[in-house]
């Protein structure tokens, strides 16, 4: 199975020799990340991954704003001197930059909420190396998409993913409103007043994000989706020991061992049916 795994720690490079590649997170470029790789260590990390004949994927999923474009331009000039194989991105600002610098063949489009049908995916495939399928589709839809597209796709198969992303500093603002100490570095999760699930939240330089109430887990289902696809595993909110075991389980396709690792799993919307009706009022688009 072709696994693409978030690089939680440098030391894991030599432990995960069977994975296809590593996702590296970088300040100023990444969003929804676990650990950032310091810029000064990046070259060495890339070299090490390539020595093992594995691919380097960079998380470039930040939503950019106009006053950040010069920095992005300069950062990309530095990165192009390194041998990064692919970039996951979600803001077409990044695509336009890549056009200017002639590396669109290295781009993998990923917005978890957008790529929900095979026709939009095929449009995006024409101008990108590949696409990550949305996590908002059911398993039947996912099978349908992979069957119809007939090209290897990237599929999020394990890990917490964001279900809300605001530019607002929603932890800071709340603490100021409540007149309590501003502290954004603790671990936070929220529970809706009529529900029981805990949703981790986090505030950083990209704003505030709410994550799924457990580690999304596409496991046995992978057999039905085919082994040509690339299966993405992320490490956020997972302890290193557990993460090592999980990657091992995916490598060996021993999914029956997942319950032996004590974390909260979820199938997300894989087996849920959407209802389209809404209540009155509220926010907010056209």
């Amino acid at each position: 199975m072709k696994l693409v795994v978030e690089l939680k720690e440098k030391s894991l490079i030599d432990k995960f020799l069977d994975v296809d590649g590593f996702i590296i997170n970088l300040e100023g470029l990444s969003c929804y990340y676990d650990e950032l790789c310091p810029m000064e260590e990046l070259e060495e990390v890339i070299k090490k991954i390539h020595q093992n004949n594995q691919k380097v994927y960079l998380n470039a999923r930040k939503i950019f704003h106009e006053n950040e474009l010069d920095n992005l331009d300069q950062l990309l000039d530095r990165l192009l001197e390194l041998e990064i194989d692919y970039y996951f991105y979600g803001d077409v600002t990044f695509y336009e930059m890549a056009c200017k610098k002639h590396f669109t063949d290295k781009l993998i489009y990923q917005v978890n909420t957008y790529m929900t049908n095979h026709l939009d995916i095929m449009v995006m495939l024409k101008e990108n190396h590949s696409v990550v399928v949305s996590t908002e589709v059911s398993f039947d839809e996912l099978k349908d998409i992979t069957n119809k597209v007939k090209e290897p796709l990237y599929i999020h198969s394990f890990g917490y993913y964001p279900i809300f992303h605001s530019r607002r500093e929603l932890i800071t603002n709340y603490q100021k409103y409540r007149q309590i100490e501003v502290d954004t570095s603790s671990n936070y999760d929220i529970v809706e007043e009529l529900r029981e699930s805990h949703y981790p939240i986090e505030q950083n330089e990209n704003g505030m994000a709410v994550y799924l109430d457990g580690a999304y887990c596409l496991a046995e289902e992978i057999k039905e989706l085919g082994l040509d696809n690339y299966y993405v595993i992320t490490s956020k909110f997972i302890e290193t020991n557990d993460f090592e075991k999980i990657v091992d389980i995916y490598n060996k396709e021993e999914f029956d061992k997942l319950p032996t690792i004590d974390i909260i799993y979820t199938k997300g919307l894989l087996y849920e049916k959407s209802k389209l009706l809404k209540k009155e009022g509220g926010a907010s688009c056209e």
């Binding site: 095979h118 449009v123 926010a283």
Partner: protein, 399 residues
Amino acid sequence: MNKVELLAPAGSLEKAKIALTYGADAVYVGGKQFSLRARASNFDLKDLEELASFAHNLNKKVYVTMNIIPHDADLDGLDEYLKALDAIKIDAIITSSRYIMERAKEVAASLELHLSTQMSTTTSLGIDYYHKRGVSRVVLAREVTLCEIEQIMKKTNVEIEVFVHGGMCSSYSGHCVLSNHMTNRDANRGGCAHSCRWNYTLYKNGEKQPMFYNIGSKDLMALKFIPKLLDLGVASLKIEGRMKSSYYLAVVIRSYRMLIDAYYEKGYVTEEDLKKSEIEIGKAENRLTSNGFFEGLPKVEGGLYDDRSEHPTKEYIGWVMAYDESTNVALIEQRNYFKVGDEVEFFGPTLPNTKMIIDEIIDYETKEKREVANHPLQLLLIKVPFKLTKDDMVRKVNI
């Protein structure tokens, strides 16, 4: 100098006509398919055709929202729908799907493509990307500050549309699926349950915190930024709210219309002009408002906490159906309770706020006198000593 477009929402044909009558230069509406707002009385093709004809006769425009993030099953019948919109001369579609854009260019070439705010476009490069793919107008993300809009406007010739009033997603639009995961209602397909407005308990390092945690946003009101937006050359100022009432639309649209016209007439607006528009909007607005991102990242005052208020507005009491100049009698359709002796205020697209006391109410059907008007949609005759026009409205002064 191209004048800015004031763009209003409408959830029904009646509301769309009111919006255009009260000063909107264009309206955006949802069709039965492909549109967010699953319960916003979406238009069938016959309604859309009537609306397009009504708008074009006034030299105004109609845009149709096709802004869902579609799943495969949602795309059935797409080509036929696009062709039908083209045939009835809809001016543009507002969309977020690259596939819908591709098909529209192929089968409905005269439909303009406007990029939905669902795509959260925040930079001039993002605008360039979509322009190269056939988009003639980009609705900016509401996360873009006024300062950033200014930078963007210097770098693009593409038409830019900016939200100025109404509900705000707390997240980047299109990037929130709280509703999907908490209620199975897909926010990106018209089912948003507004989970960002609910109360949450916060846990810090596993420990329950004593007070509710909230992530909701106050609504946007950008009156004071209108002069700057006009100076920057923004093409369209957009009001949110396809679920809102005719009265709300009339009041809000008229207020922005007055301010925009004052600016074009004088080259500036005064504090008094701004105050006047704000007071007017206050007569219909039932939610808390803020400046959104115009002045930078919203701080505490931009959020909704314990102080949320969504009180129903009862000022609106009637809609003028006709006026007989020979008898000075108006035919009014009742919308809220009122009675003889109430002080009321008429207003309209061309009628300034004009007050009077109601001294007689006559039932239009029975011709009997009434002390109170307490039946919704009842037709009533009221003597009004100044000229009214169809579609003027009347509200109570003190409630």
